[in-house]
């Protein structure tokens, strides 16, 4: 059975309709008219134990709202969610013991006290015995390099250090499921790298099931085999990253650098996208035209100095998918 099972999840938010201006503000106090926003509109989703799934969508697509329903923070308007045998919002405390959550936008660490004290308190909250606590802290501290700032108050930590602290807090009690809501937001390249390798490590060695939302598609490309794309609160695509690319971006690009500038590059079975100076970009469908044929043809016809093949990046694929659709709301 799937460790996370979501069926027809709907979450609506109701806000009073607000008229503009001072008079409007007064009228809002007495109005019963409400605006209903459907943030999640019938999402179904199964995640098997040990999977590492990327949950993608534009701002406001309903990603975070879904995660908040899965973690038991929000009560859904409709639909069923079962996470590790527990209905999250009905049994919050039991659900909390099974899951780790990291929100990139906020921290679960206590602002004014040292990181070590925060982690100690979390250890107690999750009822870890002393030896387990020490062992886990040591492992996580090693993996995330917490040692240099364990005794600093959290408010003095950099964003990257805080995020590492938060990841340690979420994994301290070895939850079976880890929800990551934009864990790399605002981080520099090295900090992102460190966090990605940590996530892979947890997934590989502990078999932690990971559901990740992010806007950085490099995260997904490096971490996830499966992605779920949502738009306007609905699932647009659910499947392998490779399949998505094949479906939406069947073409690859051949980049040819000529030794001598001049001739326009044309090859049978490939379409020239652009040419600048000695470099030419050609698009081809690898299903129809073998790369080897193109390379042979190119070297026969032109003085080639370098040939490179570019895979479509997930980012451009997703951009293309969203560009085909209109702006949400």
């Amino acid at each position: 059975m799937a460790i996370i099972a979501v069926r027809d999840l709907v979450k609506e938010f109701r806000t009073p309709k607000r008229a503009p201006g001072l008079l409007g503000a007064v009228r809002t106090l007495f109005t019963t008219e409400q605006r209903v926003t459907r943030a999640v509109d019938g999402v179904s989703l199964d995640v098997e134990e040990g999977e590492l799934v990327g949950y993608l969508g534009r701002n406001g697509a309903g990603k975070s709202t879904t995660i908040k329903c899965l973690t038991g923070i929000l009560v859904p308007t409709n639909g069923q969610v079962v996470v590790d045998g527990v209905v999250p919002w009905r049994d919050r405390q039991r659900n909390a013991l099974n899951i780790g959550v990291v929100f990139g936008q906020r921290s679960q660490l206590w602002w004014d006290i040292p990181l070590a004290d925060s982690l100690e308190l979390i250890g107690r909250m999750y009822r870890l015995d002393r030896p387990t606590y020490r062992r886990n802290l040591e492992t996580l501290s090693g993996l995330l390099g917490l040692e240099p700032f364990l005794d600093k108050p959290v408010r003095q930590l950099s964003l990257g250090q805080k995020m590492r602290g938060d990841l340690a807090a979420a994994m301290l009690y070895e939850p079976r499921i880890l929800y990551l809501d934009e864990p790399t937001v605002g981080l520099d390249v090295l900090a992102k790298e460190r966090i990605r390798s940590f996530i892979v490590e947890m997934n590989r060695t502990r078999g932690t099931t990971v559901l990740l939302t992010t806007h950085d598609l490099k995260d997904v490309e490096l971490l996830c085999r499966r992605i779920v794309l949502i738009e306007l609160g609905r699932v647009l695509y659910d499947g392998a990253v490779a399949d998505l690319k094949r479906r939406y971006a069947p073409f690859r690009q051949l980049v040819i650098t000529l030794a001598v500038e001049g001739a326009l590059v044309d090859l049978p079975g490939a379409e020239r996208v652009r040419q600048e100076g000695p470099q030419a970009w050609l698009r081809f469908d690898p299903e129809r035209v073998p790369v080897a044929d193109l390379i042979v043809a190119a070297t026969e016809r032109y003085p080639v100095r370098d040939i490179a093949i570019e895979e479509p990046e997930l980012e451009s694929v997703v951009r293309q998918i969203f560009a085909e659709r209109e702006e949400p709301r």
Partner: protein, 269 residues
């Protein structure tokens, strides 16, 4: 309920962590404590003037009244509805998401924080006692028994205030904003607890209102016990009344929390 009991050691830990952090805001705290001492002094000036012209207030001798006002005002300052601010802040900033995802119930987290904050601030009140003695007046409790009853009553008063603070804070789940309500609450509490004028001096309709409200648990009852103005059966009746309020507010807090938690909207994504 069982979840709360199981979480007690965790709450104790949470509370124990807070006093250290309170000192980060010591400037604010000291300033507001100074304003309370000033308030005590001004009350003394006014009440002494009133007593100088009257002879028919012997039921409440001036020296006793001044001690009453000093303790009442310090206590109202110390036992404050901090959970209301804390809950509102966490709802407004969306930090509530993190709190709810923890394995111990949220209301208990807020009460634990309140306990920690109060313990953190208490030494400042102790340090201010000599000043309070000069600004107002301070006499020891009427008897050992009165002193013990006072401490019990003070503890119950704190628990009642914690629940009132929580309830006020829960309103933020619907409105996001409780500042205006808080201002009304703080004034109502100060006045109906008997912080400016003892309930004994209230004209009868107002006194009936005051005695029907929970605010009397905050100063009138505990300080009357301290001064020995409530003794024997009266003292026990007053304590029982405090406990009734505690139970009522407890039931109400649970009911409101159940509704509030399904109303959660996380601010800021």
């Amino acid at each position: 309920m069982s979840a709360i009991i199981a979480a007690l050691p965790v709450y104790a830990r949470l509370a124990a962590m807070v006093p250290k952090t309170v000192l980060a805001y010591r400037f604010n705290i000291v300033m507001s404590l100074i304003s309370v001492l000033l308030q005590i002094y001004l009350l003394r000036v006014v009440w002494s003037a009133i007593y100088a012209e009257r002879t028919d207030v012997q039921a409440f001798p001036l020296e006793q009244l001044l001690t009453y006002l000093t303790i009442a005002n310090l206590q109202i300052w110390l036992v404050n509805p901090q959970p209301a601010w804390n809950v509102q802040q966490r709802v407004r900033e969306g930090q509530i998401a993190v709190d709810i995802a923890r394995p111990v119930p949220f209301p208990g987290q807020m009460v634990a924080q309140h306990v920690g904050e109060t313990i953190g601030v208490a030494p400042l009140v102790a340090a201010a006692l000599p000043v309070a003695f000069i600004a107002g007046s301070l006499r020891p409790p009427a008897s050992v028994e009165s002193g013990v009853l006072y401490l019990v009553s003070l503890a119950v008063a704190f628990a009642v205030m914690s629940l009132m603070g929580l309830l006020l804070g829960f309103v933020a789940f619907w409105t996001l904003e409780t500042t205006g309500m808080m201002a009304i609450f703080r004034f109502a509490n100060l006045f109906f607890a008997g912080g400016l004028v003892p309930l004994a001096f209230f004209p009868s309709p107002l006194r009936t209102v005051a005695e029907a409200l929970p605010f009397q648990t905050q100063a009138s009852i505990p300080v009357s016990l301290y001064l020995g103005r409530l003794e024997g059966a009266d003292a026990l009746r007053a304590l029982a009344l405090q406990l009734v309020w505690l139970a009522l507010l407890g039931v109400l807090a649970v009911a409101v929390w159940r509704r509030a938690v399904s109303k959660i909207v996380v601010q800021g994504g």
